[in-house]
């Protein structure tokens, strides 16, 4: 079977379809930008986009996204040379502390802005609150998402 990640096709073995997407991305493909925080769908560190919607890859079996869906990870957002507007906004606001939650936060922001390019403060708040940041960068995350919506 095939799975499409960041516009590239990868093949997966039949017996791997139950494997969680998170570990396939990280340990198999080396796409380590998708982070692990809880393994139980509780923290959002592992958020990727599947057809534009946020999915928690730690509880998503590969089989659930191997049917022609488009999976996007932080590696697909932008490169160091050509950053995605959300990455730029996160840097402009100097949002990260340890940074471990930030891929998940950015994927959430991208999905929010794709569906709603000009979210209100309350909409940002309600959407972004699903992800944890242990370092407590929340104040800056609010500003960063707002800023990205203006780019």
């Amino acid at each position: 079977m095939k799975i499409t990640i960041n516009r590239k096709e990868y093949s997966v073995n039949e017996h791997e379809l139950d494997r969680k997407l998170l570990w396939f991305l990280r340990d198999e493909l080396g796409l380590v930008g998708t982070r692990y925080g809880c393994g139980a769908g509780l923290c959002g560190a592992c958020t990727v986009l599947v057809d534009g919607q946020p999915y928690r890859s730690c509880i998503t079996p590969i089989g659930a996204v191997a049917d022609g869906q488009l999976v996007e990870t932080v590696e697909g957002l932008g490169s160091k040379q050509k950053l995605h507007p959300v990455q730029r906004a996160f840097i402009e606001e100097q949002a990260p502390q340890c940074g471990w939650c930030m891929s998940g936060q950015m994927m959430m922001a991208v999905s929010l802005l794709n569906n709603n390019p000009t979210p209100t403060d309350t909409e940002i708040e309600e959407f972004m609150t699903q992800n944890y940041c242990r370092c407590g960068s929340y104040n800056r995350l609010r500003r960063a998402v707002k800023r990205a919506s203006r780019y």
Binding site: W23, Y36, Q97, M102, Y132, R134, G136, Y138
Partner: protein, 713 residues
């Protein structure tokens, strides 16, 4: 570069208290010594480490004239790499775009016998590192001047004389000559000429972090060959010991390469992470549990009234307080808390050339980790290289990295490159928790509106003593981590502080700020109660007890935060303001919380904070730290609590241990007072006042005084 003279300066700060203490104890008696030790430890602060005097260990200039700085301090989000980069680039006249910072290891780069913690990195290194760099600059200027036959200046990475470029920094460092460290220190750059220190330059480490480039311990694998995944059996209950193990089932499982048994150590090496975990769970192990641990027995253990508590400070006499009917008495408590760093710990170990075992691990204390590994394997220390990785959160938990030993054993026994990653459940079950505390306070306010006496009796689980040799415990008597923040900044004629150290059967250790949060919660709630008892305004009551002189900085911070919060403006019913402040070593911070209490719910609407941390090398970075501390403090004020049942914490994941969320985060406004002092700590102080400010605001909003964390109406 050749010909470095070595060892001119020495910043050995090790066992000052412990080393010199035994004789002093005999001379002056233990109680005297303990009070002295408390003064020393509560004012001096933890050591930040030194630089040695060889700039080549820290600084190199690439051919493209980029300043490359290798540092021993570990980055965990606190911005230490950025701030150290600013310090060196400033003294070496390099522009910010041309700075890169990387992590040294225990075998390469500068030596750091202490480690990273206690908010001490910048305060400890600020002057030594500037001096080291200034000396280097002066050596380079001398060299280029001699080469050019005339005096030269250095600016923006280029040496020039009368407007003509002579050579670049990169070229100068490559001049073929004997480099001799000057006998006398070169002058430091005057603060009035600073271009980088004190400026909010952007962090140096965001690009890799935000583009998914391997950056953290959990991201690592072998660059040369297939990486294997390890999992090591851990007791399912605290205190359990392995009695025997049957490995047949695990060995047969798919993807299992090897099962390693070594005394009480049983570990799996698997093809994939999941196969290692599965097989590890399938090990048939008989565990022997020692004593039963449950919440009641733990709660019962803490007794602030214990007769053998240690006197930390005693000024004046307190009898008049206890005999006065107007004396206020209050008890406060704080629970166990988890560290819950978002990146679970992991380590990657591999054998490299010369039989060196290289371990990449997220540790705050690389040298200790290296020597623990060497000891465990029975090999020499120089055969182990520990490279600290970028940390997905530190906050004290990474003072011990158990996975480093696990990966080291598996890799050493098999010769395979092995990555061992902990699961979230491991993190909760095998955390080193913030210990619980109990506090009993007595205090009296005179008719004049002044506090005449306070007694604070505190009992806490261990923070630092459990990790120190037992001689330290018997000399100190109390745990100087647990008593952090217990000192009272206010001027009070009679003051007694006592602490009862209470080792507990569950592991307790460093948690952000150590005792600062608990002790400030107790003291600053109590000050509020005293103010209320005397019908005084809590803000001016505090200010009144901070006379001019050395208390002026805290006084200023309080006044300024009062203005920011518009303290005197009346808030609607059900909404209230609370103030709290603390001094943590050289940093002072004051905060006001605005809280609304509605149908049993506490909602924090605003936090204003003013911090004076001396010179902030990177003001925006310092503000980011304050914001983070406020979120941590709010988590503790509103949610965080670990309870034990049947030798286990009830929480195994975030469902039972919720962290503060974005939607619960108030609007936060932070201002810094830039003072003349050199840099002081910023990574922890701001956590201190948060729970007290919120509890005091809850009182103002509802008339309910909440005295234990988390705050529940």
């Amino acid at each position: 570069m050749a010909n470095w003279k070595k060892g001119r300066r020495n910043f050995l700060i090790s066992a000052v208290v412990i080393g010199g203490s035994v004789t002093a104890a005999m001379q002056f008696g233990l109680p005297y010594l303990r009070r002295k030790a408390f003064d020393f430890l509560s004012e001096g602060g933890p050591p930040g480490g030194g630089t040695g005097d060889n700039p080549a260990l820290w600084i190199s200039i690439d051919t493209d004239n980029t300043l490359h700085l290798q540092v021993p301090k570990v980055e965990m989000g606190q911005g230490v790499h950025t701030a150290l980069g600013q310090i060196v680039a400033e003294e070496l006249e390099v522009s910010w775009e041309r700075v890169s910072v990387s992590q040294g290891s225990t075998l390469t780069g500068p030596v750091d016998s202490f480690g990273t913690g206690g908010s001490a990195s910048i305060s400890g290194l600020y002057l030594p590192l500037r001096q080291l760099t200034a000396n280097y600059r002066s050596m380079l200027i001398t060299a280029v001047s001699e080469e050019a036959g005339m005096p030269v200046q250095l600016s923006k990475g280029v040496f020039s004389a009368s407007g003509k470029m002579i050579m670049t920094l990169a070229e100068a460092t490559r001049l073929d000559r004997d480099w001799v460290i000057p006998e006398d220190d070169a002058p430091l750059k005057p603060a009035s000429e600073f271009k980088l220190i004190g400026k909010s330059v952007p962090r140096v480490d965001y690009l890799d972090m935000l583009t998914g480039i391997p950056h953290y311990a959990y991201d690592l694998k072998s660059s040369k060959q297939k990486t294997y995944y390890g999992a090591v059996a851990k007791p399912p209950k605290i205190g359990a010991v392995l009695e025997n193990v049957r490995t047949e089932t695990a060995k047969q499982m798919q993807g299992v390469i090897e099962v390693i048994e070594d005394g009480e150590f049983v570990g799996i090496i698997g093809e994939s992470r999941e196969s290692a975990w599965l097989a590890c769970d399938a090990l048939d192990i008989k565990w022997q549990t020692a004593e039963t641990i449950d919440q009641d027995s733990l709660d019962f253990a803490l007794d602030p009234n214990a007769k053998d508590s240690v006197v930390l400070k005693k000024t004046g006499d307190l009898d008049f307080v206890f005999s006065n009917p107007n004396t206020i008495r209050a008890e406060y408590s704080t629970p166990f808390a988890a560290t819950a760093l978002l990146e679970p710990q992991s380590s990657f170990a591999e054998l490299i050339e010369n039989d060196i075992l290289r371990v990449r691990t997220p540790t705050q204390f690389p040298n200790t980790t290296a020597s623990n590994i060497a000891k465990r394997l029975g090999i020499e220390e120089h055969k182990v290289e520990v490279i600290p990785t970028y940390l997905g959160g530190g906050f004290g938990r990474r003072s011990k990295t158990e996975s480093a030993i696990e990966a080291a054993v598996l890799a050493y026994k098999t010769g395979l490159p092995v990555h061992v990653g902990w699961r979230r459940e491991d993190e909760f079950l095998h955390d080193r928790f913030r210990p619980p505390t109990r506090h009993i306070l007595h205090g009296l306010v005179e008719k004049s509106g002044h506090i005449s006496g306070i007694q604070h009796l505190q009992a806490s689980g261990d923070v630092l003593l459990s990790d120190l040799p037992s001689i330290a415990a018997s000399i100190l008597g109390s745990d100087f981590g647990a008593t952090r923040g217990i000192n009272v900044a206010y001027e009070i004629p009679s003051l007694e502080l006592r602490a009862k150290r209470t080792p507990l059967p569950v592991p307790t250790a460093s948690w952000r700020g150590l005792g600062l949060l608990a002790n400030t919660f107790a003291t600053e709630s109590f000050i509020d109660e005293l103010a209320v008892s005397a019908s005084e305004d809590p803000l001016s009551f505090r200010i009144k007890h901070l006379p001019q002189g050395d208390k002026i900085r805290l006084r200023n911070a309080l006044q300024r935060v009062g203005k920011m919060a518009d303290w005197n403006r009346k808030r609607p019913t059900g909404t209230g303001l609370g103030v709290a402040c603390c001094q943590d070593y050289g940093t002072v911070i004051a905060q006001v919380a605005e809280v609304s209490v509605e149908s049993g719910d506490i909602r924090v609407l605003h936090i204003w904070a003013v911090m004076d941390c001396g010179l902030a090398v990177n003001p925006d970075g310092a503000i980011n730290q304050v914001e983070g501390n406020i979120v941590w403090g709010l988590g503790s004020a509103l949610h965080e609590e670990i309870t034990f049942f049947d030798n286990k914490p009830l929480a195994q994941n975030f469902d039972k241990y919720p962290l503060l969320r974005l939607s619960e985060t108030p609007r936060i406004k932070v201002e810094l007072i830039q003072s003349e002092l050199p840099p002081q700590g910023v990574g922890e102080p701001a956590i201190g006042p948060v729970p007290a400010a919120v509890a005091n605001a809850v009182y103002a909003a509802s008339g309910k005084r909440l005295r234990s964390l988390p705050l529940r109406l």
